[in-house]
């Protein structure tokens, strides 16, 4: 018997990706003064699409991390932008909280079904 629903699976992938995004952002922030460091990121929508497609096959798609272009490189070869990273961190955090809130609702729904006889 399966208690987890498809939506909760999808939400799990969504949360995983949000954590990956926070992790990349944190790692970019950590290297804000590292000479030659290039900002890293990934395409959230594309990765999410791939992750959703991977649910039925029961596998976790690997993350495609690439160097972000279009940023201004400083003389030491570093192109981390504090504003971009701050914005991304806030965004990823909100995504994560949304995912958590939805997951709680979904779990409550399953709980309601379990207690439907009362």
């Amino acid at each position: 018997m399966q208690i987890g629903t498809k939506l909760s699976e999808q939400l799990a992938r969504y949360l995983d990706l949000s954590v990956s995004e926070v992790k990349l952002t944190a790692s970019n922030m950590a290297n804000i003064d590292t000479p030659g460091y290039q900002t890293k990121g990934f395409d959230f929508a594309a990765e999410m699409g791939e992750a959703l497609a991977g649910i039925d096959k029961g596998r976790i798609a690997p993350l495609h991390v690439h160097e972000v272009d279009g940023l201004v490189t400083r003389p030491d070869g570093n192109n981390v932008s504090m504003d971009r990273e701050g914005l991304h961190l806030a965004e990823a955090q909100l995504r994560y909280r949304t995912g958590i809130a939805l997951l709680r609702i979904e779990n409550q729904r399953v709980m309601d079904a379990i207690h439907a006889d009362k």
Binding site: S20, S27, A30, D33, T34, I60, I100, N107
Partner: protein, 154 residues
Amino acid sequence: MNLFGLMETSGSAMQAERIRAEVVAANMANAESTRTEAGVPYRRHHVVFASDDPVADFGEAMHLGLGRSSALQQSEPAGGVRIAEVVEDSAPPLKRYDPGHPDAGPDGYVEYPDINPLTEMVDLMGATRAYGLNSSAVQAEKGMITSALDIVRG
């Protein structure tokens, strides 16, 4: 994916930035030091940052301990930052004419370290800002972990 790994990334940066601030403080403190253990005037130090590979954290150790390889974690990008080395500045010392000084050379000039308080202050400000940036990332990560715990609390 490990939520706590995020804190290690930001933590490594906070540690590195603190060392940077310490080095700057040492530079400012020794701006007038004409003697060191080596017998030469103090030389300005600065830190070299290098991005670090993901550290073997608790989660990974647990996976290894359970005989499971963590394919997900292996595909992850580099984690935090570390201080690769603390190097001495190669700039020649400044010479000031002061024949009465015990460290004055035969020509009456004393060698002082080439330390510019302005440069040091700017460096210190950069370290403070980066420290604050990473500590707010830690705050954000703490909030995320707390909200994840809220699922269980119901």
